[in-house]
C-alpha cells in the first residue's frame, strides 16, 4: 500500500499540490483524473520521487519518507525499484534496441545476469506479440509500439506498482487502442497500477479507484462507480467538458 499524507509542492509562482493525502492499494487500478495543470502528474511523479515535494510524507509498505528531512540517495534508489514508470512519450532509450531497453534495468540495477534478463525480456516480448521487434531501435517503431515497449521495460523490473503518466496522450485513436488493450489486460491480472489519463472511457472500464484533482487539491477520492455517478457540480462539469 502507498500512502501520501499532507503533500505540498510549492513552486516559486504556483502551489502544484496543496495538502494532498491519498492511499493506493496493491492489486488495484487507480486512475488520477483532472484538468490540465491540476497537479495529476506531479502527484504521480511524487510517488517514485521524480518530484520532491516541499513537505508531507510518503509511505510504501513499512518505508516512510518525510520530505522535510534529508533523503539518502540509497533510500531513493531502493524506493524507486518498487515502481515501474511509463512516460507520455519518447522515453525509450534511443540508442538501445527494444531488447536492450527491456533488460537495461534488470541487468544494471538489479544485477541480473544478462542471459536471465534476456530470457525474461523475450518472454515479455512474446506475451505482448512483439518478439520480432526485439532487435529494432525505438526510432524504427510506431509510437504505439514504443509505448508498449515502455510498458514492458517497466514490467521487466517486476515492480510492485506500475505508474503511467498519460501513456496514450501522444497517440492517435488506433494506436491508443493497442496500448489500452495492454493496460486492460494488466488490470485484469490485478497488476497494481496508478494511471494519469484524460481517457475517461478507459478510466470507467478499468479503474477500481479514482482520484480527481484540481488546483492541486483532491476533489474526489473513491470508487470509479461513485465518480461517474457523482452529483457534485464540479465533477459533472468536468465530465461534460470531456464529452463523457
Amino acid at each position: 500500500m502507498i500512502e501520501v499524507k499532507h503533500i505540498i509542492k510549492q513552486y516559486p509562482d504556483k502551489r502544484a499540490l496543496d495538502d494532498v493525502s491519498a492511499t493506493f492499494n496493491a492489486h488495484e487500478t487507480a486512475v488520477i483524473l483532472g484538468p490540465s495543470g491540476s497537479g495529476k502528474s506531479t502527484l504521480l511523479r511524487t510517488l517514485n520521487l521524480l518530484e520532491r515535494p516541499t513537505s508531507g510524507t510518503l509511505a510504501l509498505n513499512d518505508l516512510t519518507i518525510n520530505f522535510e528531512a534529508p533523503i539518502a540517495k540509497k533510500e531513493i534508489f531502493n524506493f524507486r525499484q518498487s515502481f515501474g514508470m511509463v512516460f507520455q512519450e519518447k522515453a525509450l532509450f534511443a540508442h538501445l534496441t527494444v531488447l536492450k531497453n527491456i533488460i537495461e534495468g534488470p541487468v544494471q540495477v538489479k544485477k541480473e545476469p544478462i542471459a536471465v534478463a534476456t530470457k525474461k525480456a523475450q518472454a515479455l516480448l512474446e506475451r505482448f506479440g512483439m518478439a520480432e521487434l526485439a532487435e529494432r531501435y525505438p526510432s524504427e517503431l510506431s509510437v504505439g509500439q514504443q509505448q508498449r515497449v515502455a510498458i514492458m521495460r517497466a514490467l521487466a523490473m517486476q515492480p510492485e506498482y506500475l505508474l503511467l503518466d498519460e501513456p496514450t496522450s501522444a497517440l492517435d485513436p488506433e494506436l491508443e487502442a493497442q496500448v489500452l488493450h495492454v493496460l486492460k489486460e494488466l488490470a485484469t491480472q490485478r497488476t497494481s497500477m496508478i494511471v494519469v489519463t484524460h481517457n475517461l472511457g478507459f478510466a470507467r472500464q478499468v479503474a477500481d479507484h479514482i482520484i480527481f484533482i484540481e488546483n492541486g487539491q483532491i476533489g474526489y477520492d473513491g470508487s470509479a462507480e461513485g465518480f461517474f455517478s457523482a452529483t457534485d457540480n464540479r465533477i459533472q462539469q468536468f465530465l461534460n467538458a470531456m464529452n463523457f
Partner: protein, 232 residues
C-alpha cells in the same frame, strides 16, 4: 604540371610516412585525451551544487577551475601555448615538457578539450529530460544515468561539432613544426629548402591535408548516417 607530378611521385611517400608517424598519431592521441578533458569539464560545468557544505565547496572550486581552463585555452593562440609549454616551462625548470611530443600532446589535447567541452555540454543538455527521468525511474544511480543513457545519446548529438574539432586538430598539428617535431608540414618545409620547389611542395602538402580531412569528413557522414537511427 609535369614537374609537379614528378615532385609528387618523388616526395608523396615521405609525406605520407610523416603523416602516418607524426600527424595522425598526434591527432589521434590528442583527440582522445581532449575528449576526456571535454567530457570531464562539461560534466563539472553542468553539475548541480550539492547541499552538503564540503562537497559544495569542492564543486564550486571545480567549476571555477573548469571555467578558467576553458577561458584560458579559448582566449590564447595555440602557437603561443606551444611556446609557453615547450620553451617557457623547461626554462622554469619544469623539464617534463622539454620533450616536444609531451608538449605538443599536452597543448593539443587541452586546447581540443576546451573547445569540445562546449560542444559536449550543449549535447548533454539537449538530451531530452525524459530520457534521464526514465533512467532514474528504473532506479539507476546518477553515474549510471550519465554513462549509460545521457552520454551515449549526447555522443550522437555531438558528432558534427566534434568532427569539426577533429578536422581542425588534424590541421593544427602542423603547428608542432614550431617545436621541432618533424611532422608532415615541417618535412615539406625541409624538402622545399633543399630542392627550392617551394610552391610545388606546399601545394603537395596541402593536398595531403585535404585528402586526410576529406577521409574524416566522409567518415563523419557515414557515422551520422549510422547513428541517425539512435534517435526518437
Amino acid at each position: 604540371m609535369t614537374q609537379f607530378i614528378q615532385i609528387a611521385i618523388q616526395y608523396l611517400p615521405s609525406l605520407l610516412m610523416a603523416a602516418l608517424t607524426y600527424t595522425l598519431p598526434l591527432t589521434a592521441i590528442s583527440f582522445i585525451l581532449g575528449l576526456i578533458f571535454a567530457i570531464l569539464t562539461a560534466l563539472i560545468r553542468i553539475s548541480k551544487l550539492p547541499s552538503e557544505p564540503i562537497a559544495r565547496l569542492i564543486m564550486i572550486i571545480l567549476k571555477a577551475v573548469a571555467a578558467f581552463y576553458v577561458w584560458l585555452f579559448r582566449s590564447t593562440p595555440m602557437i603561443v601555448q606551444l611556446f609557453i609549454v615547450f620553451y617557457g616551462l623547461p626554462n622554469a625548470h619544469i623539464n617534463f615538457f622539454a620533450n616536444a611530443w609531451v608538449s605538443a600532446i599536452t597543448v593539443f589535447s587541452l586546447n581540443t578539450g576546451a573547445y569540445a567541452s562546449e560542444s559536449v555540454r550543449a549535447a548533454i543538455l539537449s538530451v531530452p529530460k525524459v530520457q534521464k527521468e526514465a533512467a532514474e525511474s528504473l532506479g539507476m544511480t546518477n553515474r549510471q544515468v550519465y554513462w549509460r543513457v545521457v552520454l551515449p545519446q549526447a555522443a550522437r548529438i555531438s558528432i558534427p561539432p566534434l568532427s569539426n574539432s577533429l578536422i581542425s586538430l588534424l590541421k593544427d598539428t602542423s603547428l608542432a613544426s614550431v617545436i621541432t617535431i618533424v611532422e608532415m608540414f615541417y618535412l615539406s618545409q625541409q624538402i622545399a629548402a633543399e630542392n627550392y620547389k617551394i610552391l610545388s611542395m606546399y601545394v603537395l602538402v596541402a593536398m595531403v591535408y585535404a585528402l586526410l580531412t576529406t577521409i574524416l569528413t566522409v567518415g563523419q557522414h557515414y557515422l551520422e548516417r549510422y547513428t541517425s537511427r539512435f534517435t526518437i
